[in-house]
Point group: C3
Chain length 444, copies 3
Amino acid sequence: MYALVSDLYPICRSITGPGVRETLRRLQAHVPLEVHEVPTGTKVFDWEVPKEWRIRDAYISDTDGNRIVDFKQSNLHVVSGSVPISQTMPWSALKDHLHTLPDHPEWVPYRTCFHREDWGFCLRHDLFERLDAQGEQSYEVCIDATLADGSLTYGEFYLPGESRSEVLFSCHVCHPSLANDNLSGIAVATFLAKHLRQQPRRYSYRILFIPATIGAITWLSLNQAQTAHVEHGLVLALLGDSGHFTYKKSRRGDEAIDRIVEHVLRQSGSDHSILDFEPFGYDQRQFCSPGFDLPMGCLMRSANEQFPEYHTSADNLDLVRPRYLAESLDACVAITDVLEADRTYLNRNPYGEPRLGERGLYRAFGSVADGARAQRATLWVLNLSDGHNSLLDIAERSGLTFHEIRRAAHALIDHELLEECPDGNEHAQPRQSAGTRINQLEKL
Amino acid sequence: MYALVSDLYPICRSITGPGVRETLRRLQAHVPLEVHEVPTGTKVFDWEVPKEWRIRDAYISDTDGNRIVDFKQSNLHVVSGSVPISQTMPWSALKDHLHTLPDHPEWVPYRTCFHREDWGFCLRHDLFERLDAQGEQSYEVCIDATLADGSLTYGEFYLPGESRSEVLFSCHVCHPSLANDNLSGIAVATFLAKHLRQQPRRYSYRILFIPATIGAITWLSLNQAQTAHVEHGLVLALLGDSGHFTYKKSRRGDEAIDRIVEHVLRQSGSDHSILDFEPFGYDQRQFCSPGFDLPMGCLMRSANEQFPEYHTSADNLDLVRPRYLAESLDACVAITDVLEADRTYLNRNPYGEPRLGERGLYRAFGSVADGARAQRATLWVLNLSDGHNSLLDIAERSGLTFHEIRRAAHALIDHELLEECPDGNEHAQPRQSAGTRINQLEKL
Amino acid sequence: MYALVSDLYPICRSITGPGVRETLRRLQAHVPLEVHEVPTGTKVFDWEVPKEWRIRDAYISDTDGNRIVDFKQSNLHVVSGSVPISQTMPWSALKDHLHTLPDHPEWVPYRTCFHREDWGFCLRHDLFERLDAQGEQSYEVCIDATLADGSLTYGEFYLPGESRSEVLFSCHVCHPSLANDNLSGIAVATFLAKHLRQQPRRYSYRILFIPATIGAITWLSLNQAQTAHVEHGLVLALLGDSGHFTYKKSRRGDEAIDRIVEHVLRQSGSDHSILDFEPFGYDQRQFCSPGFDLPMGCLMRSANEQFPEYHTSADNLDLVRPRYLAESLDACVAITDVLEADRTYLNRNPYGEPRLGERGLYRAFGSVADGARAQRATLWVLNLSDGHNSLLDIAERSGLTFHEIRRAAHALIDHELLEECPDGNEHAQPRQSAGTRINQLEKL
């Protein structure tokens, strides 16, 4: 995954334009994702698809023609979405268009101006101070960019499973040379897709590679009916740094995905934070808007705005490490493992305990300590498999891992002591989305 | 309010009689409350309206005619409800009728004997000891009081609002020269009434100025049908001392009034205590009796029996301070503000976020920090306005103040992004009182 | 009770056979329990009643004929369930059949081998080491036992009450000379039965004296229909040692028995532990299997496996003390007192408070402090007796004891202020057992 991050790092992505296209093209070498183009001006709910921003060059040069700030050295130097400019101007006028980080004088900030007509440059604060000390000088300022009709580009990878019910993963693809924010999410999502392709699947899976906000709104607008099939989902972001896992819950806070992620992180034994839902941050704010209210959480390591390198040039290939990417992928795989395997079973011998010893069920597993845990798992599965408790319920109540509980369940199935519950995997009551209620109320 | 407390302080109030009448007459200078007279002997549930106690004079004098204990100096000196007496008696006989506070030798206690035929005097313990040291002397004891048919007097101020649903406030008016217990409650209730008169009102408001226990029982007995309209209520008492706020919850403990008072006190940032309901203390014990089970809490500063000056001469005009009265009134106003403004709205653009920036909704508010909170408030209101959450729900879940949430909601209404929920302000299920159940069971 | 424990201590009990029979015979001197014999081979759910194990003698002797390990000295010396053997064998072969406790060299462990064909001896570890030091010697090994068709024996004592609804107590009777595990439970159950016989009873009571596991399964199999009447129950075990009380909750964890035991233990003021249900330990694992899901907890002092003397010769007549047995019986009596007395009443004067003073209800009780608590109890009972709260509910909410609440209720009944609630003692919804659901699902 780190190689993929490195490969994508230099590309200048933005909300729209060639950077996103090139990124998606390279991902297609890993998974056959479909690339969609949505024309500028398409109405998507309260919004419309914006013009496409293309940038070729941008710099500030001194009167000798030396490039002092150069887009070609780092695409962070130009404020993303800047309107074109080509002008000579004095320091006093230029200054207002410059962005720096006084607390981190060697870092270049990442700034955008998509929603207003403006332009600007980002640079190191120490360079800014040097220029400022030189007083009123003249500079040539050039941003060779166009903002013109085109399209919004996103990638979508759909993996059908036994059921049309789907699990939705989403990551954003609109940030330029920032490694953790968003390349780590892209890499983990891509390799998760590669993994899932090779697995038998009860659920269908959909993985979106979309520009933040407008991309999510666009996808939702074009796929409104499809969202009814989403039973679980995760926004993936910031998955490559050394921070511990952070999980932000779904809007309702008690969805299956919330319980599953919490179980997986708790059983991992490592530090982690569970945060309540908030309607800001990544694209949960769109997927969990009240008209959709999708059961989606957000998995991160360090949370957005909570680490100093966030949205700066220090979010680079040093901040992201292969082992953290691997850990993040493992967590995602563990989560989908639970999603796939969690079912409700029925004890076929519910009156008293069955004779486990005679069936060799006490000797089925390795070491003594493991054997004691396996025996407890077996007794818990038998006791709680009354049609009301799924394997995850049993894991949570027993304090054992989902893996141990599932292994015990499979051994019991092999001995015909357990069977799948006829209606145990359907919700007693279909999940009513907040949107349904809004629709009902709108009809009044 | 302090001036009102000072004005009412000297009056000798009791459960019935001229003291209450004079008190209510003076309150009429502030709000046009109605004064009701309920004749002695009227049956009110398990009770009947008592005879009226009128006192003219009371004293203990020595053989030289010097008044040693004199009702005219402080109406606390005579046990409230004493039967008349005029007699010369030795110290040894008189002693049994004297009440003091050995732990506070300079304070005079407040005592009553309404429910038994008795008489007595209250005095400073140091004076008692001096008299006791003089040994067996003869004293003239006089209580010039009558207990005769008359009426029970209470005041009622009703402010109609858009809806017949009403908010009931109640304070007691039966204590003599005690400033915190009950004049502070009377003053806050009176000024709250003055404030509410000048406000537009969704709810109707009823404010009772009643003798404790028998007054509440009398009002309930005469207004049994009316209680069905009470949707929220508060007993007001002990609101003038320096103690922090104490809120005693309603009988059910999860009424709207409970949540609102807790929110207001929490958002005030100052120390406060939330106590569970108990069927003793002020008139909650009547309003929350199971046949009525009204959704009423009790707002106090120091709780009854929890401060040393309680029911003593030290509960005087020094114990009550203008700033604490003002704080208490502010809290009541904040509570009624939430009651009036709490509604459920619908996001009119529930699919994804609307374009807030284009509508200027990100720049609507003052400072930067305030702007960030306002933006969060806006996103919370949009996200949770699905017909299930009122503004108070949103304030509680977001951790923002009700005021911030309401301001955001109003800005969204102005931009046609929010509308009132057609059925959001009615309870899905009508509140079934405990009394209803009792009635049903009685019919079995 | 201690005398009964001492009397039963020497008997060599096992899952089946003469030890259990002799034990039950001696209990019949205390209560007229019925003794049931279930023939070997009877199918009981997934199991069948085993052959009967009878042991006459067992020893290891040296070549001089000296008995080194002798069943006649302690029945713990032979592994319970051993197959017969009579053989001379070298130390190296014998060794594998010996069990000791290296951490407690002076104690003899208790071991069983019912579910596999094996034999063995248990002995002190210091003796084992002495023999081991002597090197390869020859020993005569004799276990004079038979495993033959016979029956499984259990005792059952049924006490009819006003209602067929029953309370089920169960203790196990299959352990040999271990005083706490199981004689303490047998003694407490026996004396509880003696107590209950002399009480008026709303509930019927059933007390089982059964071999662990197979005994419980056998009883359940033969009495499946009867289990529908079990409304509350307790497994009794380990009730004679100095440890504080341990209560393991029922499978659902919120049954009436759970609340009652917790209330009684909390009100006792002494230390105690409340543990969540686990499907291991004593016969809760059978009674609470999902097909039955009986509302039964388990009352112990020290929990099984949690004290060093557990299943060793140190669980003897010194470990169990008369005062702890008495305390345990008291707790059981207190629990049945609450079970019998807990009812729901209706306040007959629910509108405001009734005049308690006039009825002498404020003076009904002894000391001042007691009087204040009694008065609070009276007000709580009146306030909450709306048909929704039982006396236990009121005790829990008020923080007063069940005894105080019941006494207040009885005084109010005497004054015709309270009456029994017509439907208050029936569950609004009949308790659906997990088994019912399983049956429904099986029919699909």
